[in-house]
């Protein structure tokens, strides 16, 4: 598979109140962005368990995007800060596992930032495309 035809598979965990609405806005405003991302709605970015990210990589994702409200805007007061805390630790774990840190990104997108969401997804897709597919050899053991 040549690099040019490589289409990365991305998973996005979007919080219900800001980022999911922002993505929805991008959609209703007919903004075109890379179709590589598959979105999973969670109520809050604080709901994103680091296991979800690892699971996504295991199931074949090449990149994972976590998106929450801007600092101070969280619908649940501070869920996005908790997401940030977990994200920092997760990056260290990914590093130790040998997965490039760049494959997991945490961003803030508000409900009105459809254009920003479009831009972030396009950038992230491009970035992962440059990184190439995630060639990680899982040991074959099944989850759970």
């Amino acid at each position: 598979m040549s690099n040019t035809s490589f289409e990365p598979r991305l998973v996005g965990f979007l919080c219900n109140w800001c980022s999911y609405t922002g993505a929805d806005l991008a959609g209703t405003a007919r903004m075109v962005y890379a179709p590589n991302i598959r979105i999973i709605r969670v109520m809050c970015s604080g709901r994103v368990d680091p296991q979800f990210v690892l699971k996504a990589f295991r199931e074949g994702a090449d990149g994972v995007l976590i998106s929450g409200c801007h600092p101070g805007d969280c619908h649940y007061q501070e869920g996005n800060y908790k997401a940030l805390r977990r994200y920092k630790l997760l990056l260290r774990l990914l590093d130790q596992l040998g997965i490039e840190k760049e494959r997991c990104r945490l961003v803030w997108v508000s409900a009105s930032e459809g254009a920003r969401f479009q831009q972030i997804v396009n950038e992230f897709t491009e970035q992962i495309r440059r990184l190439g597919p995630l060639n990680f050899k899982f040991d074959g053991g099944s989850h759970e």
Binding site: I40, R47, G79, K82, S110
Partner: protein, 586 residues
């Protein structure tokens, strides 16, 4: 009570009443000059002389400051009184021949010319000292006083120089009975324009004619009482004793079930576009100032006048000031086109000979009857020029531009750059989010859209709801809109709030967390993470328990639970894992 007889009529009055007040009750008129009901009487002018007889002894007294005594008999128009009064007025006329009230009194008494020499035919001051007492007793500034003696006596500030004690309240001029003290407006002009003081005229006033509730308030900045601690004249005249100077702002806590936000907008500050000269060129005014000017209760009584008091012969109306402009606000402010058309119509009505130019980008006459109104204006002869105004300047290039404002604009329909001289320019300033919208958004935990107006939950399905339950939006805080739209939205918001109250019950999101009793190890990590204190630790069972009513369903506890005991309904780990598997199958 005291019994007195005035001009043969008996009356009972309270102790301490002056003769003047007692006579007033009997509808007997005694002329006065230096008397003012709100200031301690001083009996300087001696026009209010009456004859008072007590215990057989008759005397001439000043009625304004002489208090009645039991058994007093008073003559207000006896020959002796009239003669003395006439002499006093004659002397006053000689001193202040230009004072109108004195002239009037003299005429009534048949005095053509005083027998005494006139020093200054322009003099108006009768040296009654009402101004001095007003300044001292009412205002508390003590900025003016009598100086010199005898014929040199006059009223002035210390050394005849502008006094530092004067607070510029003009109370002296208001109290002066003869108009000897005058004051100039700040700019010496009657017409009030943008560069001038557009503010209120009194310290206690009703904010606007249409105010609800229709109750006056005291402007602390302008009120004399808050400057000198005195005055309080308003409390003396208010019969209902409704004025309270000690009242302060207070924070009132009210428990409510739902909140409707109608925090409105602010106008675009036209100073941000220097090329339009607002604030620099006196006849460039904003839409709101024009509205003020054209209002019948406004500074000019509804006349459309220039800063110099003349009628404009040509008026330019500039649309989209601060709207539809990448440098300021990209959005359309919605209301400007229609109010600009209204202005054009008003100008045509009030100054029919004036030429009106409307500079627009696109005419947005979007509502019911709006397009028809636009056509009416076209028929009325308003000149519509399609193009964004580049500059408004007072720099004349030709003779006919001299003394005028020149609007430089590209007429995109003709394809030429034009210079149009006008007398007045009205800037149709756009609408912007209110100054403290960020603070409000934070307080109510709601989001703003890209243009920083509050974001509705859904543009079509929930246009009056916000992202916070029970908080609704109405009016321009949600986006620029005109009055009909605002009324409609406000009605919708009120109905939503009522529906919520009527139900009496509140539907919670079903996505709350739950903790499995069997799996929970009682580590309490979740307890500290919950932002709503919805999780409590049960010491007896050594487990954590979720309070369903308090849980808002963010799921942060679920993400943190090391044993997987905490799960979020509809967002269980299993469900999300399956979702991940599912979306990555292809």
């Amino acid at each position: 009570m005291i019994n007195v007889i005035i001009d043969g009529k008996k009356i009972q009055v309270e102790e301490g009443t002056t003769i003047l007040k007692a006579a007033e009750k009997l509808d007997i008129k005694i002329p006065t000059l230096c008397y003012h009901p709100l200031i301690e009487p001083y009996a300087a002018c001696r026009v209010c002389l009456v004859e008072a007889t007590l215990k057989g002894k008759t005397d001439l007294v000043t009625s304004c400051n002489t208090r009645v005594v039991e058994g007093m008999e008073i003559q207000t128009a006896s020959p002796r009184v009239l003669q003395s009064r006439r002499l006093n007025v004659e002397m006053l006329l000689a001193r202040a021949p230009a004072a109108e009230p004195v002239q009037r009194l003299a005429k009534e008494m048949g005095i053509d010319k005083p027998r005494f020499p006139i020093r200054d035919p322009q003099e108006k001051c009768i040296l009654c000292g009402l101004c001095v007492r007003a300044c001292e007793q009412v205002v508390g500034a003590c900025a003016i006083s009598f100086v010199d003696r005898g014929i040199e006596r006059k009223v002035m500030p210390p050394f005849g120089e502008p006094s530092a004690a004067c607070i510029g309240c003009t109370a002296c001029a208001h109290f002066c009975p003869t108009g000897a003290i005058t004051y100039e407006d700040k700019y010496g002009r009657k017409v009030i324009h943008s560069e001038l003081y557009l503010g209120p005229s009194t310290a206690i006033r009703v904010p606007i004619r249409q105010a609800v509730p229709m109750v006056p308030f005291i402007d602390e900045e302008a009120c004399i009482h808050f400057k000198t601690g005195q005055c309080k004249l308003c409390t003396k005249v208010c019969e209902r004793q409704a004025i309270n100077h000690e009242m302060e702002d207070e924070v009132v806590e009210v428990e409510v079930g739902s909140i409707i936000l109608a925090t409105g907008f602010k106008l675009f500050d036209a100073r941000r576009i220097p090329a339009y000269g607002y604030g620099r060129l006196p006849n460039v005014i904003t839409a709101l100032e024009f509205e003020h000017l054209v209002n019948a209760s406004g500074p000019t009584g509804g006349k459309i006048l220039l800063a110099n008091g003349e009628k404009p012969r040509a008026v330019g109306i500039v649309h989209c000031v601060g709207s539809r402009d990448e440098n300021y606000n990209e959005y359309c402010s919605r209301v400007c086109c229609m109010y600009s058309l209204k202005f054009a119509h008003l100008i045509k009505e009030k100054v029919p000979e004036a030429e009106i130019y409307d500079f627009y980008i696109d005419m947005r006459c979007f509502g019911k009857g709006y397009e028809e109104f636009y056509h009416r204006l076209l028929e009325e002869g308003t000149k519509f020029i399609r193009g964004r105004v580049a500059e408004i300047t007072d720099l004349a290039l030709t003779k006919e531009e001299e003394g005028k404002l020149v609007i430089r604009v590209e007429d995109t329909l003709l394809g030429v750059v034009r210079r149009i001289p006008v007398d007045m320019v009205i800037l149709a300033t756009g609408l912007e989010p209110s100054l403290d919208h960020n603070q409000i958004a934070k307080t109510f935990n709601i989001s703003c859209s890209q243009d920083m107006f509050f974001l509705e939950r859904h543009p079509k399905l929930a246009p009056v709801s916000s992202f916070s339950d029970g908080i609704f939006l109405a009016g321009c805080c949600q986006g620029p809109k005109d009055i009909p739209d605002t009324v409609a939205q406000a009605g919708g918001a009120a109905a939503e709030a009522l529906a919520l109250a009527d139900k009496g019950a509140f539907a919670l999101e079903p996505v709350t967390a739950e903790i499995s009793e069997e799996l929970c190890s009682g580590c309490q990590i979740c307890v500290g993470l919950c932002p709503f204190n919805a999780i409590t630790y049960d010491r007896e069972k050594d487990i954590s328990i979720v309070n369903d009513a308090l849980c808002k369903g963010c799921g942060t506890c679920v993400a943190a639970c090391p044993s997987g005991a905490a799960q979020q309904k509809h967002f269980r780990d299993k469900q999300i894992m399956a979702e991940i598997e599912g979306i990555l199958l292809l």
